[in-house]
Symmetry: C2
């Protein structure tokens, strides 16, 4: 392999001068700089990043932990993180934790060994117990996409999920709905709380009997949960599904039950998942859109800022505001029309 020393000899200078023309941090006489550059081209020299890392103490890579890489949400997080990192000349070291705490712990331990300049941990369900391992990390750490129990020891950039639920609830309230159901997952408590707050603002209560946990995050899970909701309250006029992945199942269950959407049943989703947004002969979904890319970008930039500004991380909680996108799956209940 061709080294900086080789280039130096070829150009008739010392390797420090080569280093200087490459880094550009020290002025070099144009003539010798040109000679150096010529030598670099002729030899096809490319700097050894590992040696540079050892000398500078920076690897120019940041680690990203995500529960999984499949699915619209986390794949956006990964791709956005990569984009931002690339803009700043950083590489991405990826670890998918698969909701497996032990696996996460192993990876965490691996990173501690100084192969990463900073670490972004996305998603909350798995490695919360192992976060203390990071307390004395030698590099900045930030968290994103955290919904419940955001740890206070690290900066967190996430979605205001409570507000997301509120937006869904307020929309249904404004349309005049009173008997509603929520289809959700155990991890989405804040969304449910926000939804309830919207109803509480009008003196209405969303009882526990109207909140149904979907057995799995899929169309099938949504289908079963919707039927459960219909059984629990045949008079309901609207449903809030706390993730869009459930929505196709809800629509199908409505069709099977002879309820037309939105005339007999309004449906508000969450995530604005593009894959389920338009349903082919089904109404386009009203949904709460979360600014996933903004979130990922903010989180990575926070980390990168900490890297340049002498490691000062401001420990803050940043909540990005979701937005309600009204489409065709919601309208006033029959009682409010007539």
């Amino acid at each position: 392999m061709v080294t900086m020393q080789d280039v130096a000899e070829r150009a008739g200078v010392t390797k420090q001068t080569v280093s200087n023309v490459i880094s550009g941090r020290v002025a070099v006489r144009p003539a010798t700089a040109a000679r150096v550059r010529a030598a670099i081209d002729e030899l096809g020299y490319t700097p050894n990043l590992v040696a540079r890392s050892l000398a500078t103490g920076s690897t120019k890579t940041v680690g990203l932990f995500v529960p999984t890489v499949g699915g619209a949400f986390y794949s956006e997080v990964v791709e956005t993180a990569e984009d931002v990192l690339e803009e700043h000349g950083y590489h991405l070291l990826l670890c998918t934790t698969r909701l497996d705490g032990e696996r996460a712990r192993r990876h965490l331990a691996g990173l501690t060994s100084r192969s990463v300049d900073a670490l972004l941990v996305a998603g909350d369900r798995d490695l919360i117990d192992h976060l203390p391992l990071l307390a004395d990390a030698r590099f900045p750490v930030a968290l994103c996409a955290w919904e419940t129990d955001a740890p206070v020891d690290f900066p967190v950039v996430t979605i205001d999920y409570e507000h997301a639920g509120f937006l869904a609830g307020r929309h249904l309230r404004e349309l005049g709905h009173e008997r509603v159901a929520v289809l959700t997952s155990p991890d989405h408590a804040p969304r449910v709380a926000g939804f309830r707050r919207a109803f509480a603002a009008d003196g209405l209560t969303v009882p526990d009997s109207a909140v149904h946990i979907a057995a799995e995050p899929s169309a099938a899970g949504g289908y079963a949960a919707a039927n459960e909701a219909f059984a629990a309250d045949p008079a309901l006029t609207a449903i809030f599904a706390t993730h869009d992945i459930l929505s196709p199942g809800v629509l199908e269950a409505a069709r099977a039950a002879g309820r037309s959407v939105p005339d007999d049943l309004s449906l508000v989703g969450h995530d604005d998942d593009p894959e389920v947004r338009s349903g082919l002969g089904r109404p386009a979904l009203t949904s709460v859109a979360v600014p996933t890319r903004d979130m990922a970008r903010q989180a990575v930039e926070l980390l990168l800022r900490a890297l340049t500004k002498s490691g000062t991380v401001v420990n803050s909680l940043q909540l990005l505001r979701p937005e309600l996108i009204v489409r065709d799956s919601t309208c006033p209940p029959r009682s409010a029309r007539a």
Copy 2:
């Protein structure tokens, strides 16, 4: 940061001895080894991987290029690659190329600088033009998930897509179908060729007019392409969709056209995508399942083998066999029943 030297002083030995007990490659007297280990624990020492990399010339990380990280197929590739790497103590450096050749080229150039021990390139559509950049890479390179024009300069581990198409075609032929259509993408030529081969074996031709390119890989794309196929040949009795992502749209189009599946129309998919496999009130999909995980595992292991066995890469093309999974969306055509 605590260094090997610190541990050595604490244990009253030199750093070489510490290195020896850590690596285990040179025998150390049990008593002193114990003292070293104690010192490591007390100091919380963890070796600096960058320094080790510079000394050994190995970074213990392999790069993975994928077009995207979303979608069932590539997310499986990524997660499997990560699993295999982890088993062998390697890290994953991820680059998503987004079907953007220029972006891929930049990343490629970045990696050349020796921060990766090996490179796996998955997917074919984007960086085929830039592959020559890798010709003189200083690390082993392998390709996977390549469907068309697999380069001959690198080992390739991929799916036998031609055989996949053949399996779909043979299945329909065995059921007795003669008038069929193919819904596909420009990248899936081998699948179409294999499908045609199955018909050709019985002296039948699948005309170009029966092959429809879906405008986009989505349910909507499948919907439109299916309607096109119905218009082109109202008498068709079966459809082969070369990726499952089209299938929900095909089913919906069939429903809209009053064709019941499988009675009036058989449908064979490809990929066995779990997300569309079971359709809630729709027939479960007959599909050609591709061994994605096996493929990714083989490719990574090939690379890892090259790394240990003194860089000897056997330049071969390995084709993994797909498998037909018969479910409820196919049956003999009416003409063959009665």
